[in-house]
Symmetry: C2
Subunit: 341 residues, 2 copies
């Protein structure tokens, strides 16, 4: 199974992408990685990091796209960039099943949309990461976490359908519970957009709609899919991320100021705290798949290290093995989505 990794983009590129690729081929039997980037630079880094095998190849695409550039302009003009070249490879080769990029979100999304293309009938593809919850064996899908900042209620309806198909495919849940992200659980809560979406979702027979959910309950594992526009979803996900950072930082401060007992306590708790970090850190579960495209495209966190890249490869393998693209094509074709007004 061939997977492309974009060498550039992200705070720790290209070195962490190289290391992540090496871990992936060393840990997963049937994976081959194609790294897009500057051939000489990447091959040197592979050598420096001790890789001499033949399951990583490099495709020469030396240009880079920064977060400051206009995504659509960059996609159109920078054909030799590691992102655009990779997306073209992904589109044109049936044996390549997925691509992973930690680059500019805007450029990855624009490239996914304009180069890889949407599944027939999909209005707006959406970024859909699994969020960690209180329960180790439960994850909740957030769709959309940032691809579509302005959404018509009909888009939210299709996010609900796509999210349900994805969760069913990935986690084998027969009738995933779908909730709408709002400012309260009562049916009357929400802004104008949410009120409209609520009415539509209530009448969408393809999904198991359970009503509104608050930001507080996104992580309790009580629902399988949380539907949101990309703006609100992004703010919510990053608020959670920021809270984890504060929690960790304040905990460190308090341990530091807590004297010898606290330091000893910390040493004894090191293992549970490490497991805690692993469980609630969503970069550990991979990246955000761009759901609704013809191929698997995963946006990895901008601060991805080797371990995140490796998690993304695992995630891509899992998505591919679940046969999700075919299921999504089928599901979208069958779904009675209300026509766009």
């Amino acid at each position: 199974m061939k997977i492309i990794i974009d060498a550039y983009g992200g705070d720790y590129s290209p070195i962490e992408m190289i290391k992540g690729s090496i871990t992936a081929v060393n840990s997963i039997d049937d994976v081959e990685i194609i790294i897009t980037g500057d051939k000489e630079q990447i091959e040197n880094l592979l050598k420096e990091n001790g890789y001499t095998g033949d399951r990583i190849s490099v495709y020469h695409a030396p240009e880079t796209i920064s977060c400051e550039e206009s995504p659509t302009m960059a996609i159109r003009k920078k054909k030799e960039s590691s992102l655009v070249a990779g997306l073209n490879l992904l589109k044109e080769n049936d044996e390549i099943v997925a691509m992973i990029s930690a680059g500019s979100t805007g450029a990855v999304l624009a490239g996914g949309l304009f180069i890889v293309g949407r599944i027939n009938g999909v209005k707006r593809p959406a970024l859909a990461p699994f969020l960690p919850t209180m329960y180790e064996d439960k994850k909740t899908l957030l769709i959309d976490c940032g691809a579509n900042v302005d959404c018509k209620p009909e888009y939210l309806q299709q996010f609900a359908v796509m999210g349900s198909i994805y969760v069913k495919s990935m986690r084998g849940i027969e009738n995933p519970k779908v909730a709408l992200l709002s400012n309260g659980i009562e049916d009357t809560k929400g802004n104008d957009q949410i009120h409209k979406a609520f009415e539509i979702l209530k009448n969408t027979k393809e999904i198991n709609f359970v009503g509104n959910i608050e930001g507080r309950d996104m992580f309790t594992g009580e629902v399988d899919v949380v539907v949101s526009d990309g703006f609100t979803g992004n703010v919510a996900m990053k608020a959670a991320e920021g809270t984890i950072n504060v929690f960790t930082s304040v905990l460190k401060q308090e341990i530091k100021g807590g004297g010898l007992f606290a330091k000893l306590g910390y040493l004894l708790l090191k293992k549970p705290l490490k497991r805690l970090k692993k469980r609630i850190n969503y970069t550990e579960v991979g990246g955000s798949p761009f759901v609704g495209l013809n191929k698997i495209l995963i946006k990895s966190h901008g601060s991805s290290k080797a371990n995140t890249i490796y998690s993304c490869v695992l995630q891509a393998v899992e998505i591919h093995k679940s046969n999700y693209i075919e299921k999504m094509k089928e599901g979208i074709e069958k779904s009675s989505i209300i026509e766009e007004k």
Copy 2:
């Protein structure tokens, strides 16, 4: 200084409101509390909890308003409710400076708006709590966290102005840094509403606008005021709250499963963990003042216990002493807010 406490509403009413009132008069010298609720019930509870002083009085208003009722209907019809009776007292008596309620958010907001009334020139009052940050001595104001789910960009502009005045008054910060909550820090990030608000804020001379801020950076203490519509602000704040719950719950699970060493470590870390909880728990800093009204009205968390109610009294005293209502009146009168379209 007289402060009203609504005996009803909230998950632990009325008992925790009574206990909080007793703590308040026992701890703060110049405070008198008027509790609105069923006179007999409240007076019995005061006795049962050992209060025999004369700085807590009860105003008989036995009706209650539930979260399921239509807020505007309830405000209009339930004149004998602890909330409506309290708001009328607050409005009509100059010597009463503030009211605290843990009741239905919708009803508190509707009552504040229609009974207490807005400061001249205020378009939309907003809920504005201080969020905890990484730094113990820094707090960031979030305005609006839930009062106005649908906002015109001009409302966001006025939230920025009101937030700046409030922070200046409460924390003595001369030129508070104001940021707009968005899905990225770049000027081009945001949905349609945010783009419009960004342009207006950039040109508002009364404030020190520093650009967009992500959900991730709301808690770093780098800005003083975060401006948002009430829908997004509410989702973000509750996402943070939910994350703290997950963090705490998973930590407990890991300690429990971590054997003897982990348990010993936990005992040694108990004090720092308690301080951590106190520092990041926003109910410890009080409630959300409804900024822009003619009087001080504080919405306390629905799950408020005695300690939260006491914190709200402290907060009300601090707000009153800062002379914020006068400053807000002056500031709003002077501000060159763009006229509503």
